[in-house]
């Protein structure tokens, strides 16, 4: 049971769940199995102790967190699994196989995702006051950067290198707006061209953990997000330096 819960925890947490959800889901499963569970979330590991109240046996495991991309599909299905166990519709001994099923059928990126993200970033540019030309430039820069991101992720490149490379490419492409005098809002174009790389979900998760009192985990997530943001700025600054554009 402890092994199952540890595996469940690293997958749920790795997909980008908040600490409060992790705790609630694990306690739900534990209650159904008639055991007690205590967890500590460390920056790269989850420390899990399971105690059987009947004979007082305790088992402790420390499992490494899987660095997965954020997937709300996985979080939704793993949460449903915990309810199925708690409501008794899924016996505990079959939970392990069901977890394998969920993990092996995890959805990958939908086709056409770069175009969707491009459209989203172009709309974002519009919300910040960019004109139609800036939106077009941002669309192209985002699609190119995002395709590069997917290609590098397939080769298991370090996420920090990916962000530096993608923000550099997007910034250089978006610089076209100002360099060729196409539109009236070149600063908005170049500023919003890299925003698809901002780690928004880790930032929000970090604040959620902070409100919940999981300060170590909150700090860990915050540092991760800050490092990614610094990489993003490094790529952006280098791109602008190369294109010889001032910031304002």
């Amino acid at each position: 049971m402890c092994d199952f819960m540890a595996r469940y925890a690293v997958w749920l947490f790795g997909s980008g769940s908040t600490c409060i959800r992790l705790e609630k889901n694990l306690q739900r499963i534990a209650a159904a199995a008639g055991v007690e569970v205590e967890i500590t979330v460390l920056p790269r590991h989850i420390h899990l102790t399971v105690r059987e109240p009947a004979d007082g046996d305790t088992v402790t495991t420390i499992a490494s967190i899987r660095p997965l991309p954020v997937s709300y599909d996985l979080i939704t299905r793993l949460s449903r699994l915990s309810w199925d166990i708690a409501d008794g519709s899924l016996p505990c001994d079959r939970a392990d196989t069901e977890l394998d099923n969920i993990i092996s059928s995890a959805r990958s990126d939908i086709p056409g995702l770069p175009l969707l993200v491009g459209a989203a970033n172009a709309s974002f540019c519009r919300l910040f006051g960019g004109d139609a030309i800036a939106m077009g430039v941002v669309f192209v820069a985002t699609v190119a950067g995002f395709i590069l991101k997917q290609m590098l992720a397939e080769r298991h490149t370090d996420p920090r290198i990916i962000v530096i490379a993608c923000s550099f490419v997007s910034a250089v492409l978006a610089a076209a707006d100002g360099l060729f005098g196409l539109g009236a809002t070149p600063a908005v174009a170049i500023g919003s061209s890299v925003l698809y790389l901002v780690p928004g979900i880790p930032f929000i998760n970090s604040f959620s953990d902070m409100i919940d009192g999981h300060y170590i985990c909150a700090f860990g997530r915050m540092m991760q997000a800050v490092v990614i943001t610094c990489c993003l700025s490094a790529g952006l600054c280098f791109g602008m330096f190369l294109m010889n554009i001032g910031m304002f």
């Binding site: 980008g16 769940s17 908040t18 409060i20 959800r21 609630k24 991309p69 954020v70 997937s71 709300y72 599909d73 996985l74 979080i75 939704t76 299905r77 949460s79 449903r80 309810w83 199925d84 409501d87 519709s89 959805r107 990126d109 939908i110 995702l113 969707l116 993200v117 491009g118 459209a119 989203a120 970033n121 709309s123 974002f124 519009r126 919300l127 910040f128 908005v188 500023g191 919003s192 925003l195 698809y196 901002v198 928004g200 979900i201 930032f203 929000i204 998760n205 604040f207 959620s208 409100i211 919940d212 943001t229 700025s233 952006l236 600054c237 910031m247 304002f248």
Partner: protein, 163 residues
């Protein structure tokens, strides 16, 4: 008339941005439409608070209130969509991320480093601190405003996936 055109444009582009950014974090299919709807309502709430009132509300307070609206909506909708509250909530917040403030913060910082005279340094430092503070408090307001409803209604938020 002009105001209404701006208002609906704001909602529409917020919805498109929410769908695209939500897609990066791989939500279940039924969540896309809800994300778009909640983001549109949230962003137009902020638009109204900042533009329709006179004098307009400060961006930090307006964002916090709009995030709170988004949070309440997401918590109420999540049992209907059978997804955890965060699935609808966090992607819907993304259109409000203060991207241009963050950009100007880093721009100011870079110019501080390369500025040579005291005057140019002071100006860059002002840009850095002014934009940085606004950016930080918008983010904080967003996160607090949106997560408070989850903690207020834990019974709804954590039962949504029960079949």
């Amino acid at each position: 008339m002009d105001f209404f055109v701006h208002f609906f444009q704001d909602a529409l582009f917020a919805a498109i941005a929410a769908i695209g950014f939500a897609a990066i974090s791989r939500p279940p299919r039924q969540a896309y439409l809800w994300c778009a709807l909640i983001a549109a309502v949230g962003h137009s709430t902020r638009f109204l608070l900042m533009q329709a009132l006179s004098p307009g509300m400060h961006i930090v307070i307006a964002t916090t209130l709009a995030s709170f609206v988004i949070g309440i909506l997401a918590v109420l909708i999540s049992p209907k969509a059978h997804v955890p509250a965060e699935t609808c909530l966090f992607p819907s917040l993304l259109p409000m991320i203060p991207g241009m403030y963050a950009y100007r913060t880093f721009g100011g910082l870079a110019m501080c480093l390369f500025g040579s005279t005291e005057q140019s340094f002071s100006h860059s430092f002002f840009l850095f601190a002014n934009n940085g503070l606004t950016c930080f408090f918008i983010l904080l307001g967003m996160a607090v405003g949106a997560t408070v409803p989850i903690f207020l209604f834990p019974d709804i938020s954590f039962r949504a996936t029960r079949s």
